[in-house]
Amino acid sequence: MRRIMGLVVLVVFAVTSLVYAQGMPYKGVRITVALRSLPETDFIVSKLAEFKMMTGINVQIVTYPEQQLREREVIDVSTGAGAYDVLAIDSVFIPEFAKAGWITPLEPYLDPEYNVEDISAFVRGLLSYEGKIYAGPVYSEATQLMYRKDLFEEAGLAPPQTMEEYEEYAKKFTRPPDLFGVAMRGLRGNGMNIYIWSEWLWSYGGKYFDENWNPVFNSPEGVLATENYAKLLQNYGPPGVATYGWDDVQNAFTSGKVAMIIDATNFYTRIEDPTKSAIAGKIGYAVVPAGPAGRFPGNYSLGFAISAVGAKTEAERGAAAEFIKWATSQDIELGKALQANIISVTRDSVFNDPAFQAKFGGDWLTSTVESFKITDPGYRPLIEEWREIGDRLGIAVENVIAGIQPVQEALNEAALYAAEVLMRTGKLKK
């Protein structure tokens, strides 16, 4: 028996070294990738055959809707089931997953060919925890101002440069029920209203925490920021805006009933599509207006990370890393943009590519490149407690917009809750 085992080991060794010799160290390894269906991931999936030819790795894809993906992943890793080797993760949850030990740093697997420096700086920041990169970016966006060029030209106006101008123009363009000045996310959620509201917090000189992790977003600056955000939506937003998610903002804008929105740079594809948008070709793009403390475009990225629970062996981790490096490589990135018109660019080289510039030039490109340059990865705090704190804050902000609760009281409650959460994890001393 022992002799047979010895023989088997020998044969396996011989075969694997043969494979190594051919440059396919992970041939035959099976990995499972959990992701959500986006044009970006669909493009990657459509190219999987090429990846298999190159590496011999078998990739299985499991797709979930946006809302479910994170929950499925949390359940998978927290119970130790480990069904997935690669997890698609929203940038804001990288710290949570990394701190819990659910994902493995990608850094050791990166090679010069991958050219990590080419990934936009804020994206690298978003996908890192405690100085280490944990994920390769599949999708990136910043927030920018999108406005009705035709209406602005008619009124002889340039896009607003300051928050005051933004409000002034919003007022000017509000003529219900046909036109409203602005639409922005009101729906609660760390990735919904808080995603846009944070711009106001920073612009008015507020911040999330002080140096000892005391929540300070309920400071006078935070209150002023929230008041202004709520006022804009209440006075110049379409009815129901208090519960607007990004899709509602997009629909309201493309229906032609809204003059200005501030939302994701990747709205471009949809709002410029004449079959889906009544205002295609009439849209201008600009960096978000500046508040007293400056301009603060928001940011977000979706990345692929190696599951520490799913990829148990070094071979699986290696194969998973190969997949991530391939799926987020320069080639795939450029292919996405040029072949599939996907503009959620994650690499500077794509922005600099002449073919890309020829295809998507104009004020969208200038504004997006500038926004990518000035946006800060800490726009939403990169901490493992973020989701809980951000979601509770989202309720507070929605309450204010809907007129259910006064500003100070709503923010105080959220700050109290945030302090409790930070005390539980020990960040904030009691």
């Binding site: 819990a100 379409p238 009815p239 129901g240 493992e384």
Partner: protein, 306 residues
Amino acid sequence: MTVRQTYMDGKRFFSGLSENVWLMFLPALIILVLVTLPPFFYTIYLSVHDIDITKPYLGRNFIGLKNFATIFSDHRAIGSFTNTAILIGGMVVVEFVLGLLLALVIDSFFKKATWLVTLIIIPMTFPRVVIGLVWRIMLNPIVGVVNYLLQPVGGGPVDWLARPTWAMFSIIMVDVWQWTPFMLLMILAGLQSLPKEPFDASRVDGAGDFHVFRFITLPLLQPIIVVAIVFRLIDALRTFDIVYILTRGGPGTSTETVDIFAYYMGISEAGRISYAASVSLIVLYVTIILITLFLRFSRQWREELY
């Protein structure tokens, strides 16, 4: 008469078989126990600990009944219980009254029109998620069809889902639209299976419509009504999908029901699975108590009717 006969047939059916008939039920029983009890006990285990699934490094500490104490001082939790009560109360009462009226109308005037019943129950056959999405679009204040239709009648643009009271109203309305047919169907089936004789007899005695309804129809229908309401109550406790899609518990937390709150706390918003387990256990206890009280009350009601 018919009921008693079936019961007798059942008795004969079993006595005809050997004593080992219980063995035939055993597999099903074992599976039922295996599927339902472990999660239940695990929920109890969770509820007396302090476990955060997204923060495994905090450990699993036994904290006794502290989670339950927290619920009563957490006004968001209390609010979610109140919201659930309002929502379920509103839904079941309106659906029952409408269902009863419609059933009586159909039974009196459209007895032969089976196509009508088919037409009416269509909403019931749609998945709730789809219904939620469709209504969400229809209720949209600026592009939705509901406000458009209300315009000529003089209704200003109503903010259906973004004002606390309207949001609650809208959810109840959508649920009523979908589930009144269920009440209707149950009650109609009951009405059509009632014996003819008492009605004929009372007519001969000269009873008016109202009296026939009050003293003949209602008492005979009572068991069906109770079953329909209990079914609806239990089902209404799980109206998660429609609320989640229409408002996600908003604006703010004004339509946040208990199950949505537990879901947010346990998995979606925070990872406080222990706290969520405690909340679900309270829901379970309250449900059991309510259903028991309701059944007792309905027995009393039955006696009063006769």
